[in-house]
Symmetry: C2
Amino acid sequence: MIFSSKAEYGVRLMIELGRQSPEHPTSLKAIADAEGLPLAYLEQVVARLRKAGLVMSARGAHGGYWLARPAEDIAMHEVVQALEGAIAPMECFVHDHTQRVLCSHEPDAGRGCATKLLWTRVQAGIVRSLQTTTLAELVEFSHRTDRVPDTPAGAQAPVVSATAVGAQAPAA
Amino acid sequence: MIFSSKAEYGVRLMIELGRQSPEHPTSLKAIADAEGLPLAYLEQVVARLRKAGLVMSARGAHGGYWLARPAEDIAMHEVVQALEGAIAPMECFVHDHTQRVLCSHEPDAGRGCATKLLWTRVQAGIVRSLQTTTLAELVEFSHRTDRVPDTPAGAQAPVVSATAVGAQAPAA
DNA sequence: GGCATAACCAACCGCAGTGGTAGGATATGG
DNA sequence: CCATATCCTACCACTGCGGTTGGTTATGCC
């Protein structure tokens, strides 16, 4: 598995916050009940999102969390990176401060390892897919799926499903 | 980290086999010495490649391993899948026999989880990058890097590096 | 003020997988 | 017969993951 459940829970949490209006904060307990997730564990997850500046919080009674920015301006790359750390396909991939991706073994500049070429392509594929998906898309998708329980299979999901789910599941 | 060292070692092993002519088999010990990897662990790695039909073997003295097919016909997706198992971004992704990708939780067909949309895109990005890279490309890349130790930085790596390394490191 | 609510924080813990080792059995060429 | 080398099974230390426990602090409401 590529991502841990921290990413799964955190993304669901962000979607849940995106479904709420940012006027009144949403408590973690409400999200935990809605998604069936352990509250104490969600605290650790949301702490990462808060430290990354993706959500804001208010303490005390009627406190809770809300999105720091509109969902349209949040790329899922930021969310996943906050939850999982740097997206690196392999141990030897380290990021320096210039955002370049290096390979730590074979420190001599002569013979660079050829695997780097492969892992770099994989990483680029992941990052591209995460950067071109916004939180707003997922929120809209969740609205659509819980609004239409029976699937007309033709009139529904015109843009999102055609480029995403359809790419992997040709005949759903 | 997305892939374990099994993938790293296995890919290096495949590249090493691609550099040799398939006439005489290459022993694991020679590969272990060339790459600085533990021999006993390489045995477990190569066993997966053999069971996947990617390499063939001969026992006894002067035995060893060679590619079952020319490197041009081996997509890295097969190699990585043999080494790491099914490429799934998240625990809940299970493949049935029709190659479709499903989500195991929320078994009621009504409210499908919106995270599925994201993970499906990520998986598609990974699979695409792995399927469009052949072993022959990596072998050629390794030939180029150990032949040209000093990098002219402009005349070199015209096609491969432009689409792969250049996508992640804009100003290398 | 007091109490319920709810964010925040820091340990702790069982479990599974990773990375590797140990020791052998089997096959083959010289 | 022996060196080489594949093949196979079991074992093991360590790490990270998923989750729990038990608090402390801050805030709204009666």
